[in-house]
């Protein structure tokens, strides 16, 4: 639960950066995606439940998010 709160907090801060600093949109978009991907890997590693399927699932979410940002001309 605590990890989820940290994730929410970090992503919320990055979202504020994305919305308030248009100059940094592309960088922020990539960082948001990477933070989430790394979070997924670390959490599943500590749970000892890291498998290829899980990595691919997080990669798909990362890809979807980055593509959405790019289509927004980030």
């Amino acid at each position: 639960m605590r990890q989820n709160l940290w994730l929410a907090l970090i992503l919320a801060v990055l979202a504020v950066v994305y919305l308030t600093l248009p100059d940094l949109r592309l960088v922020t978009a990539v960082v948001i995606g990477l933070v989430y991907f790394l979070y997924g890997i670390i959490i599943h590693l500590t749970d000892k439940s890291l498998h290829l399927l899980v990595v691919l699932e997080f990669l798909s979410f990362l890809g979807t998010a980055i593509l959405i940002f790019i289509s927004y001309r980030a």
């Binding site: 989820n4 994730l7 929410a8 992503l11 919320a12 990055l14 979202a15 994305y18 919305l19 308030t20 600093l21 248009p22 100059d23 949109r25 948001i32 989430y36 979070y39 997924g40 959490i43 599943h44 439940s49 498998h51 399927l53 899980v54 691919l56 699932e57 997080f58 798909s60 979410f61 890809g63 979807t64 998010a65 593509l67 959405i68 790019i70 289509s71 927004y72 001309r73």
Partner: protein
């Protein structure tokens, strides 16, 4: 039909206890859908101008008035519209359109200061603000004022002149409106303000992207005229009407729909899994929910238009 929907959207035996729409194959399909959608928007925008694009009401005159209004609020003198600077802005906008780049410096290394020289404006101080994809002049100036570096250009007491080009056309694959705002103080001002210029020149000896300043030894008086704004019409009559669909709104609708769908699926998935006490190997639903929720908030609050 009902079975198929349940297979797609709820975890059950037929989909190995994970909604088919949340499985890797479906997520890959979503990725493909976004890529194809974006490609379609780009291709249709290029092939059938007037169908997809951004209908803007930006005008150079409004931008100058709004810029001067911001300066007046701070007690700064208003900027004079200068034909040479407007020409420089127009040259820069044309160069960006032709070479398809969104930057202060072109891919071949041409800096904004080159266009000042090309239009015959010898400057003591110079600066450039860029904007694209906005709908109206007020939004452009607001975005610049919210950015410290762009605001520094707008409210700089060093500048005397302004020149603006507003150009519509197909830019980086999408029909849009590009704004180039250039600021300058002619080198001739050095004669009248030697003491001030010397101090300022020491402070900013190197041009910086949006807050450019480059002292020169040249003394020249650029031509001053009262009307020096460039609002280029849409190219060759092909873009002489507003686009049927706003590409930004279309992209926004697509992205919002997809994100909402994924969020709804994750909630349904989590509820069913919890109720049926199903154990499975999968990513964390709550984490996915948080991530997509933040993405949704960004999509809801992001404003159209980019500045540089």
């Amino acid at each position: 039909m009902r079975e198929m929907l349940a297979h797609l959207f709820t975890p059950r035996g037929s989909n190995n206890y994970k909604a088919k729409a949340l499985q890797l194959s479906s997520l890959s399909s979503f990725l493909l859908l976004i890529i194809v959608g974006q490609l379609l928007i780009t291709v249709v925008g290029r092939a059938v101008p007037g169908v997809l694009g951004i209908a803007s009401s930006i005008s150079a005159a409004d931008l100058v008035n709004l810029t001067n209004a911001k300066r007046a609020e701070l007690g700064l003198p208003t900027l004079s519209v200068n034909q040479a600077l407007a020409n420089a802005a127009s040259l820069k906008a044309s160069d960006m359109m032709a070479k398809n780049y969104w930057s202060h410096t072109s891919p071949d290394g041409t800096t904004p200061w080159y266009f000042f020289g090309a239009s015959g404006y010898s400057y003591l101080y110079a600066g450039e603000n860029l904007a694209r994809d906005f709908m109206d002049s007020g939004s452009v100036v607001s975005a610049w004022m919210n950015s410290p570096t762009h605001k520094a250009n707008i409210v700089s007491p060093r500048y005397h002149d302004i020149g603006i080009a507003v150009v519509s056309g197909n830019f980086m694959g999408q029909e849009t409106t590009l704004v180039v705002q250039m600021f300058g103080t002619p080198a001739s001002a050095q004669v009248a303000q030697v003491a001030v210029a010397e101090v300022a020149a020491e402070e900013t000896a190197t041009p910086i992207a949006s807050v450019g300043a480059e002292p020169t030894e040249e003394i020249a008086t650029p031509e001053q005229v009262t009307v020096a704004l460039i609002d280029q019409p849409r190219v060759a009559g092909l873009y002489d009407r507003f686009p049927f669909l706003n590409s930004f709104q279309l992209t926004r609708a697509m992205s919002l729909s997809l994100t909402l769908l994924l969020l709804a699926l994750i909630v349904i998935d989590a509820v069913v899994i919890t109720r049926k006490k199903i154990t499975r190997l999968s990513g964390k639903s709550l984490a996915h929910f948080i991530f997509l929720g933040i993405l949704l908030l960004i999509l809801l609050f992001v404003k159209q238009g980019l500045i540089l």
